[in-house]
Every structure is written in structure tokens, then in C-alpha cells.
């Protein structure tokens, strides 16, 4: 499976709401339905961004074609364009009807984040950042058949 990595500037370049709006505009540029789902969870996503949940643990979009791993960049690095990759996607991660988006959070936040996401979208799920997400290793490597793709390498593109 193809994995696409993106890195979006958060504070102090953008507020958390502005960061989510930029992510939505870029990632969902070709899919208005997906954009509506992203907008529906904007407040919860912004809260996680403000809490730096996406600093070392990615937002993951999967189930719709290509997999997307997205991080937020904070501090001085957020002001350096060379640290970022906010380009539009060449492939559609929202193909078909089975796409899902996973947001990282602390274990102590799993309860309220899950409840809030469930009220607003059937596409969004929370995962414990210390446990990780499914078949994706914490160091960014994803297993695909007999090949191991190092998604960290994509972060450096």
C-alpha cells in the first residue's frame, strides 16, 4: 500500500483551528464529502492539535486507497518552510465508502475524544498514542506483504 506523509505547521505559525482548516483544505481538496466530515470534527481535532497530540503521533487516513500519515510541526520548525510538506495529494485517500481517519490522543483523553468524535462523524476514531494504531509501528514503518515501508523516510521528502 502506498503511504503518503505530510507535515503541517501548527503554532506559532497557526492557531489550532487554523491548522485544522489548512489540513482540511489541502487533504480534502478533491472531496467535498470528506471535507464536510473533517469540518464536523474541527473542534475536537483543534483541541488535540493544541495539546500537541500530532507532534509525534500521526493522523492516519486509511481504507480509501492510499494511506496518509500527517503530523503537525510546532515551535521554530513551524516557521521553517523546509520542515514542512503541505502539498496537495496526488492520490485520493477517500476512494469508495470505507475510509476512516484516526486521531491520536493521550490514554486519559480517549474517553471524551471518542464520545465527541462519535457524535459528529462515523469516519473519525481516536487511538491511544502510546499504543499506536493497528499494523502501523510507532517508528512509522508499515507492513505491506513481504515488504516493509519506512514511512519515516517519506517524512523527509
Amino acid at each position: 500500500m502506498t503511504v503518503i506523509a505530510r507535515r503541517f505547521a501548527a503554532e506559532p505559525r497557526r492557531t489550532s483551528s487554523e491548522t485544522w482548516a489548512a489540513i482540511t483544505a489541502t487533504i480534502c481538496a478533491e472531496d467535498s464529502g470528506a471535507a464536510n466530515e473533517f469540518k464536523a470534527v474541527a473542534g475536537t481535532a483543534a483541541a488535540l492539535i493544541a495539546d500537541e497530540a500530532l507532534r509525534q503521533h500521526p493522523l492516519v487516513i486509511e481504507g480509501g486507497g492510499v494511506r496518509v500519515r500527517l503530523y503537525c510541526i510546532y515551535g521554530e520548525a513551524a516557521l521553517d518552510d523546509q520542515e514542512l510538506n503541505e502539498s496537495f495529494l496526488a492520490a485520493n485517500p477517500f476512494g469508495g465508502d470505507g475510509w476512516r481517519c484516526h486521531l491520536p490522543c493521550k490514554k486519559t483523553d480517549l474517553g471524551w475524544v471518542t464520545r465527541t468524535l462519535q457524535r459528529r462523524s462515523a469516519r473519525f476514531f481516536a487511538y491511544d498514542m502510546n499504543v499506536g494504531l493497528g499494523d502501523t509501528n510507532q517508528d512509522g514503518a508499515a507492513a505491506t506483504g513481504n515488504l516493509t515501508i519506512n514511512a519515516e523516510a517519506f517524512k523527509k521528502l
Binding site: A10, E11, P12, R13, R14, T15, S16, S17, A42, G43, T44, A46, A47, A50, D51, L79, T108, D109, W112, R115, T116, R119
Partner: protein, 169 residues
Amino acid sequence: MSTVVAVNTYTHTVTFVTNQLMRSLSRILVEAGLEPDVLTGSWDTYERGIKKWLETKHLTSLVLEVYSPTDGKLVSRWDICIDYTYGKDDDGGMWFDPDTISQAIAKAGVPAGKCTYRIVAFTNPGRPDVAGWAPAEPLRSTDGFVKHSVGTAVGTSSVGAGLEYWRRK
């Protein structure tokens, strides 16, 4: 060139402080056992107001009032006070101390029973209007409560934010 740099620095400071104030409100609610859905449901509105009034230096404080939904009486209160004289001699660093909030919650205690809350912004006269914000009803009485200062939770070279909480005597 130096003027542009100075403007950008304060812009970044405002963005940072806005984020940390929103983060502080969220953390207080979660660690106090309250659902942050009122906050997250209007996150963009709260953020726009705080950011605008920090930019114009009208914002003086944010008050998080926790109250009983049955009788409307105050259960606890958190005040975030803005200091525009903070850090004048600092090197331009920006910091947030999440432990300040956790320690304050441990001292303030978790509200018993089902509670709700509201967030009120206090500003100096002449502040610009921000869509979604309206004049608030007066704060609830703090008779029987005592205020405790926790200290500075957010610091930059031009703006700081101190945290205080009210608890029943």
C-alpha cells in the same frame, strides 16, 4: 526589516498564547472530570475572540465558571489573568507548563456531581467585536469561596498568563 520582524514576533506570540489558553481551558475541564464538548463545540469562536483581543491587547482575563445545572450556583471557578508586561527582559522564548494545571486541579479538587460550565472573557473598553461573542450575564457569587493563585502557566517575552482557582472554604 526590523519592524517586520517585530510584528511577526508579536503575531507568533499571540498565536502561541491563544493556543495555550485554549489548551489550558481544555485541560482544566478534562482533568476536573468535565466533558469539554461545550468548548470543542465552539472552539473556533472562542479561539477567534481570544486571538483578536490578545492582538489588540484588550483581553484581561478568561473565567471558566463551573456551576450546578439544577440550581445554577457556583461549584468552582478558574481565572486566567493576562499580563502584557510579562517577560520584558526575556530572550523571546515561549513556554507552557502543563504541570501547573495538574497541580492546581489536585489542590482544587474535582467537582462532585454533574456540572456544566461557561467561559467568559473580560476585556478593556473599546475592544473590537468578534462574531459569536455576546455580552455575558454577571459572574456568579463567590460568597463562601476563597481564591488561590497557582502562578504563571504561560510565558512569552511580551505576554504572560497566570492561573487562579476558587474553592469553597
